[in-house]
Symmetry: none
Subunit: 255 residues, 2 copies
Amino acid sequence: MRLSRVRFVLIETSLSANVGAVARALKTMGLTQLVLVRPQQRLDAEAMARAAGADDLLARARICDSLAEALAGCRLVIGSSARARALSWPEVDPAGCAEQLLRDAEEGDVALLLGRERSGLTNDELSYCHFLTRIATNPDYSSLNIAAAAQVFAYELRRTALQWQGDGSLAGEPEGDAQVERSDLATADEMMSFYGHLERTLGQIGFADPAQSSTLRRRLRRLFNRARPDRTELNILRGILSAAAGRKRPERFQR
Amino acid sequence: MRLSRVRFVLIETSLSANVGAVARALKTMGLTQLVLVRPQQRLDAEAMARAAGADDLLARARICDSLAEALAGCRLVIGSSARARALSWPEVDPAGCAEQLLRDAEEGDVALLLGRERSGLTNDELSYCHFLTRIATNPDYSSLNIAAAAQVFAYELRRTALQWQGDGSLAGEPEGDAQVERSDLATADEMMSFYGHLERTLGQIGFADPAQSSTLRRRLRRLFNRARPDRTELNILRGILSAAAGRKRPERFQR
């Protein structure tokens, strides 16, 4: 799978806890390669604690003395940058970053660079990068934690990978369609029969004579149509109607 | 701006450090509303440290005793769920979640629920939700930290908000087939009050004792959540309930 060809390369991270949190972020998204360039703290108990169940990924992290070593064999390198650069660089957003990395990962390893917590990437490190990528932050507060940034990039990678798997092309699936797959929806005729039952019941309980109020009838139909009940739900609703109307029967029998 | 109308509601978080990290995640993405339901630890120095420069947002976090209180006034509620549910619920992915929340935020407040670190949302909490949302994780390791999850949702919200802004209009909104502009939707507290009325009435008409059937209660809530009634519709439904229950009165008077 292409995700396993994406290296997350962290440069001179100052806190081991952050490295642990990055490991966890990667593993939740199915990524496997963590490379550390000159980490400033040893991978201690704090790092392991923050990695939680991703301690295996952390233990397998490769530690390198130089960025060149960390990037050996990579065919595409994208650098994450928190700030706009004086020297402009081709830029992609995190979704575009995921697409570029995964497209190239078909052929071999690729890398995403994450710079130091405070100062990001140097211009020399930048020069390894084919693209820069930036998460659009609040201009008044752009202090994204490095593990939070890693989580966003890893999420975009997994999202894109699953999307491509899903439709076999680069065309994104339409997003935001909130309708779940729902089987056994009530059919139009079952709905009509329910509406008949509902309207008779409204008369019986003395709420309204729906024959005289087409507005009420339309409103109720629109409401229940929107809900798109399945058959089980329709049976529950009809049971409630019967119970409500059934209260009349004893009176009748008393007469 | 619509982002300021999105509440992140955390339920019974066990670690204050996580709450701090969530505050930071929200602020980097321009979100402002953090609501805590029964946090298990005080917001201590550890929380403040993890919030970093988002300590103002953390200090302004609203602390509530109940989820109902936290959701008062919200017209749309989406719950984040790590696991698949026995009782299926309409589901959106994080991008769809952002679109739904922002679309509704034009009219008023909306909420995203994040459950306990270990056990997520209870079924009762779930019944407040119009949709569930889930971040697609590695099936072998789905242990997403709560702040990491908050970061992903906050990122999707900002990304979507900027996209819509960028397109000038709301051109970024998916072409609503069934989406009609609907104002004056019932809020979460109004829906809860309706459910209380509904469940009392079911007892009164002898249909069921909903206290004894949580499945029935959840089914009915899911059905009416799906319909998303406006206030007028809710008034009609409550009128019907009163009429159904009110049939008892004449009998009483006769005695």
